[in-house]
């Protein structure tokens, strides 16, 4: 008889427990003993160990992340801030939206398809747990070099997994990123974002309120997924025979998730839910302790009622299982049968596993024996907090001193032309349609913008045309050169990408992908990035509403480029006013907004042509960024813009090429006198965009810019039905050649050889 009960823990206080194998430090274990006034049972140990892990407790990042709250700008729009499953913003007319991005990096390296698929599944449930209907997904991806053999294993699997899961849920994929850098070779990044919408009154929180209300677990059955660590306890418990094998990889079931979405929306719509929580990392441990500690403070769970996929699971494992496609709801007893009916309609299994009480304790029984008796807050919220040492690495100065101005630059027209084509076809700048063509961007019929636009945009209200736009961005090379500035540049780019579509930025989510927090250099990068992002959000007046931290992204001792992926969400009152990057067939004039400087630190040119990373990233003035954004949004609302496109990787040349390709119409451009053509074409100075005003609004648009003190440069004009992109006095390239080079790069490597 090996069940470890509370009674037994009291009876056998000195039993040796494998806390270290579960990732707990000796002092953490002592703290648990202190909280409980006795040794924990093995089930309690399982719960604490997983809830106090880095992944669930944010113990290394918490002290830094606080800044997002402390420096949060005043925002009329913020309805639910940081700390909930996902933040909620008011977008007007009684509508609210929620969005969040999360990483699934390590699982996607081990099993690319399933790792990426379950990443999408998890973030979608997060959004549902706020009471929202998921309306779109996005994915920000980072891989090793395109031509590396392992990239050919990882990338197609990840893309198929994101598509396989998201397409099957009926959520349009409206954008994301694909970037390549050697530092991601053994550690790809798979960050998935989901957006949801709801009416204000439908917002739900993860709290177990109302004594006597029931805790219902519904969705997939619980299996032995993701319980690698806790098997230590299981093997202790099962001295003879040992437990059945536990899966090392979780397999997603998107069909089950689709049913779960429909059933959840039904019960929410019918008003049958008091509180709701998704089951993600830490499974039932997390859901019950968070629900209880956010609510009345007490909950009792009959763990043996949980429906199992694998009957050999022991209680410790059930508490920790990370089986996918499960949700937990708090339901009034009077509503239970209606709740179960909705689940049955969608063929979703549901079972009451617990009850809310005011005991102040989370208690769990297993066949009548008490195996857990803890204060829920101590599990869910009062985990350890570390102030890990951080230190600006010694090599940072050398890196910044290694200025790219020393690199050989193209100067002749032929060299400039060759450079342009080389960059247009480079992995980071090439068309990503090999990826995005595997994603359904049309489903739900509300997608207003998707690839290759700067931000994705969906209509939220079909009657009024109110909608939202979202973009994710990050240039990890910038962040490596200066993590503070790099995080702000990521924010600025994402902000700008939203503004060019005509949407007004409202809120920020982020996914902070870094190396090991135990490395002071990495911890410094992290601290600087958080500080930069928090300061940046304050300056731009948009709060961070949520996010995710992913540490330990490294191969051996080498960390990935610090990669703070920033997502910005904006609102547009009428999606019919949205601006695309397609400039039509002309004639119309093309303008560059913003100033161009000689800035090549971390640029795509330095990276691709010279394999160089050094110097400083482009300077950023957030006041200028904000002014630019304001003008773009105002001009779009007034119908002044035919087209707009943000400038980032690859600079002006890349921006013009993308606009020309997507509109199928060429342009004639001029280098302003006195400017160095190379700098003008390829610099990656921040806070710039290309705009093509509607010809009748051109003068008033320019007035607007002048009044705001925003520099404008006339770049050229769209050539009516032209088929070349020409830089007068320098060179011209046919659109067909540009398109071929731009589109061929990914298929050339990733398509099956014949």
């Amino acid at each position: 008889m090996s069940l470890d009960t509370v009674a037994r823990a009291e009876r056998e206080p000195d039993a040796v427990q494998p806390f270290a194998d579960l990732g707990l430090k000796a002092d953490e274990y002592e703290r648990i003993r202190g909280i409980l006034g006795r040794r924990p049972t093995s089930s309690e140990l399982a719960m604490y160990s997983v809830m106090w892990s880095e992944h669930c407790s944010y113990k290394s990042s918490k002290v830094h992340l606080r800044q997002f709250g402390e420096k949060s700008p005043d925002s009329q729009a913020l309805m639910v801030g940081i700390g909930e499953n996902a933040g909620v913003v008011d977008i007007g007319d009684g509508w609210a939206v929620t969005f969040k991005i999360e990483s699934h990096n390590h699982p996607s390296y081990v099993e690319p398809y399933q790792g990426a698929a379950t990443g999408v599944g998890g973030i979608v449930r997060d959004i549902m747990s706020m009471g929202a209907r998921p309306i779109a997904v996005m994915d920000a991806l980072r891989f090793g070099p395109l031509d590396a053999p392992d990239t050919r294993r990882v990338l197609p699997g990840v893309v198929a997994g994101i598509g396989g899961y998201g397409n099957c849920l009926g959520l349009p994929n409206i954008g994301g990123e694909v970037a390549f850098d050697p530092s991601y070779l053994g550690n790809p990044l798979v960050n998935a974002l989901c957006i949801g919408a709801m009416r204000h009154e439908d917002i739900h929180l993860a709290s177990a309120t109302g004594v006597g209300n029931l805790v219902v677990l519904y969705g997939a059955r619980t299996g032995g997924d993701g319980i690698g660590g806790v098997s230590v306890l299981a093997s202790q418990a099962f001295t003879e025979g040992g437990p059945a094998k536990r899966p090392s990889v979780q397999v997603g079931d998107p069909f089950m998730e689709k049913l779960l979405i429909e059933a959840t929306l039904d019960v929410l719509r019918a008003g049958l839910v008091e509180g709701i929580q998704d089951l993600g990392g830490a499974g039932i441990s997390c859901a019950t302790s968070e629900l209880a500690s956010n609510g009345e403070g007490g909950m009792h769970v009959w763990l043996d009622r949980v429906l199992l996929r694998d009957p050999s699971l022991v209680p410790e494992e059930i508490l920790m299982s990370e089986s996918q496609e499960r949700m937990c709801a708090i339901v009034r007893p009077a509503n239970l049968s209606a709740f179960l009916d909705h689940c049955a309609k969608w063929d979703v299994e549901a079972v009451v596993i617990g009850e809310v009480n005011d005991s102040g304790r989370l208690t769990v029984d297993w066949h009548g024996e008490r195996i857990v008796d803890v204060p829920p807050r101590s599990v869910a919220h009062d985990g350890p907090v570390y102030r890990r040492p951080f230190d600006r690495p010694a090599w940072q100065d050398g890196l910044q001193a290694d200025d790219p101005t020393a690199l050989a630059r193209p100067s002749s027209p032929e060299e400039l032309r060759a450079t342009l084509l080389d960059l247009v076809g480079s992995a980071n700048l090439a068309s990503k349609s090999w990826v995005t063509d595997q994603y359904d961007r049309y489903v739900q019929g509300n997608t207003v913008l998707a690839q290759p636009e700067d931000a994705g945009m969906v209509r939220v209200d079909e009657r009024t045309g109110r909608g939202v736009a979202v973009s994710t961005d990050c240039n990890g090379r910038f962040a490596k050169l200066d993590p503070y500035a790099g995080a702000q540049l990521a924010l600025a780019e994402s902000y700008r990408n939203v503004c060019v579509t005509g949407a007004k930025p409202l809120a920020v989510t982020n996914c902070l992908n870094f190396g090991s927090p135990q490395d002071p250099a990495v911890m410094w990068q992290f601290a600087e990035a958080v500080r930069g992002l928090a300061d940046g959000c304050l300056a731009l007046g948009i709060p961070v509403t949520g996010g995710n931290v992913s540490f330990y992204n490294q191969t051996g001792d080498t960390a990935i480029l610090p990669t703070p992926v920033v997502g910005v969400l904006g609102v547009i009152e009428d999606v019919r006013r949205r601006v695309r990057s397609d400039w039509g067939t002309g004639p119309a004039r093309i303008y560059l907004l913003g100033a161009t400087h000689d800035e090549f630190g971390g640029s795509q040119w330095a990276h691709h042509v010279h394999g160089h990373l050094g110097g400083l990233p482009p300077r950023l003035d957030l006041a200028v960024e904000q002014r630019l954004g304001k003008i773009l949004v105002e001009a779009a609302a007034a119908g002044m813009l035919l087209a707009a496109h943000d400038l980032s990787d690859g600079g002006l040349a890349q921006g013009l090429v993308e606009m020309a390709i997507s509109s199928g119409t060429g342009a004639r451009c001029q280098i302003p006198p006195g400017l160095d053509p190379f700098v003008f074409l390829f610099s990656e100075s921040a806070s710039r965009a290309i705009v093509v005003p509607e010809p009748n609004f051109e003068a008033s648009f320019l007035d607007l810019c002048q009044a705001a003190g925003l520099p404008t440069t006339r770049v050229g004009e769209v050539s009516p039905h032209g088929a070349t992109l020409e830089f007068e006095g320098l060179f011209a390239v046919g659109l067909a050649e540009l398109a071929r080079v731009h589109h061929a790069a990914l298929p050339a490597v990733l398509d099956d050889p014949a």
Binding site: N167, Y442, V443, G445, R459
Partner: protein
């Protein structure tokens, strides 16, 4: 006119189909897979999606849903039925249409704006188009490669039952570039690409898809007229 749209577990484009029906000027009526009453609708759309997760084979499990019994029965009596994507797969699995849809030749899911030529305008779902009309509507599928034996293909071709063909690019390897076919009578049509995603220029590549829904209204009205 009332047009029924069936929701199976895993249907995705049912709301889109309803929107398209409404934009075309008919009344959408949502039908549930588990019921066996068509509620007096004048036509039925089997929408796209991944019914039953597309596990086993696309459409293989849905074919046995209770709602399919009256649909198969009344299709035999001339009820207009349009199967889009997953709906097309269900119609083939139910033997209302010949052939089958298999894995794309590229083995990838593919989403693109697809050019088509309308080859046959005698069916209930294509009569509003001009013969040979070229249209662009979204295509999105993982298993859209139409296959049938040569005799069936000859027969489809010989009797003008190929209603739409891919132009420029054959995205999935379909035999004879087939994008859609009809039954002999012309009331049952299966189509791989998605006309319901091309009914508003804001959210699709144009409004070329509306013709399928306009067609069925036109043919229902002409039937009503004695």
């Amino acid at each position: 006119m009332r047009i029924g749209i069936v929701t199976f577990p895993g249907s995705l484009d049912d709301r889109d189909a309803a929107r398209a029906v409404a934009i075309a000027g008919a009344e959408p009526v949502m039908l549930w897979h588990g019921e066996s009453d068509l509620r007096g609708v004048h036509a039925v759309v089997l929408p796209g999606g991944f019914s039953y997760g597309d596990y086993l084979r696309c459409g293989a499990i849905s074919r046995f849903a209770p709602i399919m019994t009256p649909i198969v029965e009344q299709a035999g009596d001339g009820l207009p039925v349009l199967g889009i994507c997953n709906g097309f797969q269900i119609l083939c699995e139910s033997h209302l249409l010949p052939g089958a849809l298999t894995r794309n030749a590229s083995r990838h899911f593919i989403c693109r704006d697809q050019h088509l030529r309308i080859e046959d305008t005698t069916s209930d779902w294509t009569c509003a188009y001009a013969p040979g009309q070229q249209i662009t509507i979204p295509l999105k599928n993982g298993e859209g490669c139409y296959v049938a034996d040569d005799r069936t293909l000859d027969e489809l071709e010989g009797t003008g039952r190929v209603i739409a063909r891919y132009l420029q690019v054959n995205p999935n390897g379909s035999r004879l570039d087939i994008a859609g076919i009809r039954n002999e009578r012309g009331n049952v049509v299966g189509l791989m690409p998605h006309p319901e995603h091309a009914v508003e220029s804001l959210t699709g590549p144009g409004v070329d898809g509306l013709g399928f829904f306009a067609s069925v209204l036109q043919s229902l009205l002409s039937r009503a007229r004695p």
